[in-house]
Structures are given as structure tokens and as C-alpha cells.
Amino acid sequence: MQDSHATAVHALQHHFADMEQQRETSTFGMWVFLITEIMFFGGLFLSYLVYRLSYYDAFVAGSSTMHTMLGAVNTAVLICSSLTMVLAVHNAKMGHRKLTVVFLILTMVLGFGFLGIKAVEYHEHWVAHEVPGPNFHFDHPDAKHVEIFFSLYFAMTGLHALHMVIGIGLVSVITYFTWRGRYTAGYHNPVEITGLYWHFVDLVWIYLFPLLYLISHRHGGH
């Protein structure tokens, strides 16, 4: 206990009065950052909705090419990664260093799993000439607007994948510091706010999956 107290005092930055203020401040900072992220993705979601309303048939046609099974598996993978992240934060709070490291590594493994499956899907679209650009080909009277669907699909999932990559990077740094024993039951806030970020990125996918894969199926008659 004496030891963990010493670490906590050491971790207090010069401009904060106490650990409590430092903890609240960094958590609040992450929440504000996540709000900016919502606005960032918001522009894309808005574009998607506007074009979906304008070019409904083309969007249904584009959406029906999605590999729903792979999308569903990926959703499950991400939800599991959120679970392992929660367990990592919980163990950090309890001061269980080794278990925290294990769950953080599991989180990263699941993150890589998601990216791998996403890469398989991208490859399928590439082979089927569904990537926008000179090679794009789609049998549909309104192929031009199907191309917009795919433009937005790649922009949205690509940006999400980029956030996953950044998330894995953050988790790897946190894992290293946890392993080195930098965090204690009294000071584990970096683990917690990395968790916030991770859950946010998962949550974005929870909206992307139905929007890109599912909702057109009901009306599309496939």
C-alpha cells in the first residue's frame, strides 16, 4: 500500500492540486474528444443518409452485395473486445497487474481479428470491381449512384478501421506500461480513458453495421 501511494504521488502532474482533480480532468478531456469524434463521423453519416434518401434503389443494390455474415461475425468480435476491455479496466482498478495485461492483449487480438476480416471483405469488393474509380463496374441502371454508395462505404469503414488501428496502438502502449508496473489501484486512469476510446470506436461500428449491411435487406426483396 505504501508503495502504491508513492507511485500515485509521483504520477501527479505539476499543475493539478491532487490526484482526484487530475483523474477527473483527463476523463472529462476524453469525453470532450469523443464528442468531436461524433461530429467527425457525423458528416459522413449525414452524407450517407442524404444520398440514401435521394438514390434509394441504387443504395439498396449496393448494400445487397455486402457480406452480411462476415459483418455479423465482425460485430461479435468487436463486442467481445469491448468485454475484454471492460475486464482489463476492472482488473486495473483492482490492482491485478497480470490479468490486466492478459485482457489488454486479448483486446488487441480481437482488434486485429476485426481488421483481418475487414480486409477479406475489402478484397472481395476489389475482385468484384466494386471499388470506386476507373475499375468500377456494376450492373445496375443507376450504376453511378451505386458507386456513391461504395464511395461512402469505403470512406466510413475505412475511417473506422483507421480508428481501430489507432486504438490498437494506444492499447499496446498501455499494455507496455501496465506490464512495467506503472499503474496501480490508486492510479490507473490511462487504462480507463483508453477504454473509453475503445468503446467509442466499437459503438461507431454498431451504427455502421445496420446502416451499411442490414437495413436495405428488409426493403430490397433479397
Partner: protein, 544 residues
Amino acid sequence: MATAALPVERETYLNSSYGVKSWLLTIDHKRIALLYLIGVTAFFFIGGFFAMLVRLELLTPAGDLLQSDTYNRVFTMHGVVMVFFFLIPAIPAVLGNFLVPLMIGAKDLAFPRINLLSWYIFMLGGTISLYAMITGGVDTGWTFYPPYSSTFSNSNVTGVGVGVFINGFSSILTGLNFIVTIHRMRAPGLTWGRLPLFIWSHYATSVIMVLGTPVIAITLLLLVFERVLHLGIFNPALGGDPLLFQHLFWFYSHPAVYIMVLPGMAVISELVTCFSRKRIFGYNFVALASVGIAVLGFLVWAHHMFVAGISVYAAMVFSLLSFFVAIPSAIKVFNWTATMYKGSISYSTPMLYVFGFIGLFTIGGLTGLFLASIGVDVHVHDTYFIVAHFHYIMVGGTIMAYLGGLHFWWPKITGRMYPEAWAKLSALLVFVGFNLTFFPQFVVGYMGMPRRYHAYPAEFQVLNILSTAGASILALGYLLPMVYFIWSLRYGAIAGPNPWNAAGLEWKTASPPPTHNFDETPVVTWEAYNYDELPAHEEVPIAG
């Protein structure tokens, strides 16, 4: 000549360490503010150089100095540099960075490293944009409208777009830092109702930065995707909709006008109380008006698009909402005026800028109401009337307040006074030069001279000559402070901790402040602007 060094070598944020490295790796908000001051000033003079080229070309009706292609690039680069790299960061990143922690009795901003990071992002974005401007320029207007920008322009839209995109994150991080700092780092006893209005305005500004900037970031990213990867998003030939770009662009860029002017209002509230020796009239109203402007600012963007083909009903709603913005703006102007009423006003330089701000902002705001009316807007759309209107807000408002604030806090920042007589002269030059530059543009715009052309009919020449003459006076008015501010670093009279006898926590510590700001964390038991309890400030010493 008062050339004496500081009497006793007291440790300040300026002399606590030396060397380039101690500045480039600093996490002290005061040093980062000075880094920003240097960066922002450089961009101001670059943007000003482009402005002078524009004014020189418009001296004669024919296109003689610049041809149309060059002219398009010059006015675009003037706009891009001034908006994104000067006006948006100027007051928050320089004065706000320096003062927000001092005014709330904190040792630093909540995230000092992120603060330094935001300066580096700013410089990186600026450098990339400048590089792109030198190697090809950009000719789309600062609004980057597709499909011209994404498909047809043969200038370096991608480079400038990427630069502005990167720069956006500096704005986001500054806003985030301010919000968290104001929530979590206030000194004991400093309740929301006791905060200086400077803080309230910066809080409102930060909310806009945090909510709006990500939207322009994603919009510019999509534009770059369309230009580079030929993803069809905005170009109708690829199936896209250019109106969507305009909606997304103005969703940020209209609130961005308030990112520019709210910090100016922040400065004015501090100055007007100090030089009237009075409490602010209607504290709560002025504070909430800032928040009101931030909220309403997000609901009026489509008034930039009345002629773009939006529906009549949408235009009517946006017109009505635009009128609402006048209410909080007018509350501020009336309350500042009421603050001066029966105050003991002194005509120091910062106060001259206050007078300038209130007058020019009022003209800019009232002409904004003309433009919110659909009928008038359709008539004067894309004429010099618009140009004059927004320069009255951005230059007449923001830059006036920025210069007023720089003079007011200069003794706090450097520990030295500026030369008062020269400063008064430059304030006068700025005011006269500004009006001579931009008032004729209202007239010539109303007569029908379109913006963004390098040539014009001969009957507009007299007014354009007046405007160019005014711009030269204005340039002198801007150069002068740069000279005497630098001069004052060595020769200015030594300023005490509080040369203006001003209220506010920043004046309760030494000038320049120590690195940790306060020797003891202050405990606040009084309201802001308790000037009835403070003695009047003595005659300001004039150096030289």
C-alpha cells in the same frame, strides 16, 4: 530613455530557462502563447501582402498588374491565410492561451503537452498550405466549392486542403483544452458567476471549435478524396451533389465567424470595464449572450446559400433564424455602452480600440441584417457589399479587439509598457484606414460591382481608389505596433504587476508572471469587475 533592466532578477516565465530548445519543447501555456504570437503574426503579414496585391490590382479598371488567373490565386490565398491561419487562432491561441489559466487562478491549461502539440499542428498545417501556395497556388476562393475545386481547378487544391484539414485539429485541441480547463481548473471560490466574461466567451468559442471543426475536417477530407481518388461525393458528373458540400462547409464556416468574433467580444468586456472603472452592466446577460451566439450560430448556415438553389421554405426559416443572432449581439453592444454610461472613462490606447470595435461591429452587424433578408441578399449576393460586411466584422471587430487586447495585456506578457503616444497614433490610423478601405466597398457593392473579378467598369474607379488608399493607411497602422512592440521589449518603461489597476486575477501576480503563475493559489471571494472597490489607475508612464 528608460533602458534599465528589471531591478531585481526575479524568476519569470521568460528567464526561467534559455535557449531555442527551452522554447520549442516548452509546456508552459505562456510560452506557447508567444510561439503562437510569432506564428500568427507571420501569417497575418503574409495574408496582408496578398491583400495589398488585390488592392493594387483594383486601383485601375483594367487588369494590368495581375491577370485573371493570378488574381484568382491571390484573393484565394488572402482568404485562406487570413481566415484559417490568422483570424481563427489569433485571439484564442495567443491571448486566450496566455490568459485563461491566469484568469482562473490555475497553474497551466489542463493538458499542457496537448497545448504544445496544437501549436506544432498549426505550424505544420500552415507550412503545408504555404508550400502548396508557392508550388501552384489555389484559385477556388477560400470556400473550396466543388465541382470546380474537386475536378476543374488546375491549382494545388489538394495541398491547401490537406493543410487546412491538419490545421483544424489544432483548433479542436485548443478548444478541448479550454473547455476542460474552465470546468476543472478554477481556483477555489471562483464560481461560474464570478468568472470574467473573457472566460465565458472563450468557453462559447471552444464549444464551437469542438463541435464545428470536425465537420469541416471530414468535408475537406471528402473533397480531397474526390479530387485524388475520384470518389463521387460532390461532383454531379460523378453522381454527387455540390449543395451537400455547401451545407457541410457552412455548417462549420458560419459558426467559424463566431469563433473569430466571440474572442473579440471577450477582450472588449475586459477592456470596457477597466477603462470605465465600472462593473459590467448586466453580467448574466453578457455571459449568456456568448452562449446564445454559439448556439444560434449553428442554426443559420444556409443564409450563405440563398441563391444556391435551396428551397424557398428553407430559405425563409434560415432568414428568420439569422435575424435571431442579432439579439445576443445587440445585448452585448448595449451592455458595453451602458457600462460606459457615467463611468470615469480614460482614453488609453486599449479603450480607443474598444470604441473602434463597438462602432465597426455595429455597422458590420446591422448590414448583416440586410443580408439576412432574402430579397436584399439576392440583390447584393457576391458583390462588394458582402465583402465590406464581413470585413467590418472580422477586421473591424476581431482585429480591433485583438490589437486592443495586445496593448492591454502587453505589460503583463512582457513586463514593459508600450509607448502610449505612438500607440494612440496607430489606433487612429487603423480606424481611419479601415473605414476608408471598406466603407466605399459597401457603396460600390450596392451599385453592383461583383467580388472576385480582377477588372471592373470604369465608373467604379473613384471608390476603388479610395479603398486602396485606405488599405495603405491601414497597412501603416498595422506595421507601427509591430515596430514599437519590439522596441518596447528593450526600451519600454517597466510595468508593475498592475499598471491599469485592473480587476482580474491575472493582475494579481507579477509582470511577467512566474512560470507557475501564482506563488500561492488564489482564493476568490469577490465578483468579477469589482471596480467600485479599486482605485483609479494612475497616469500611464510614457517611455521615450
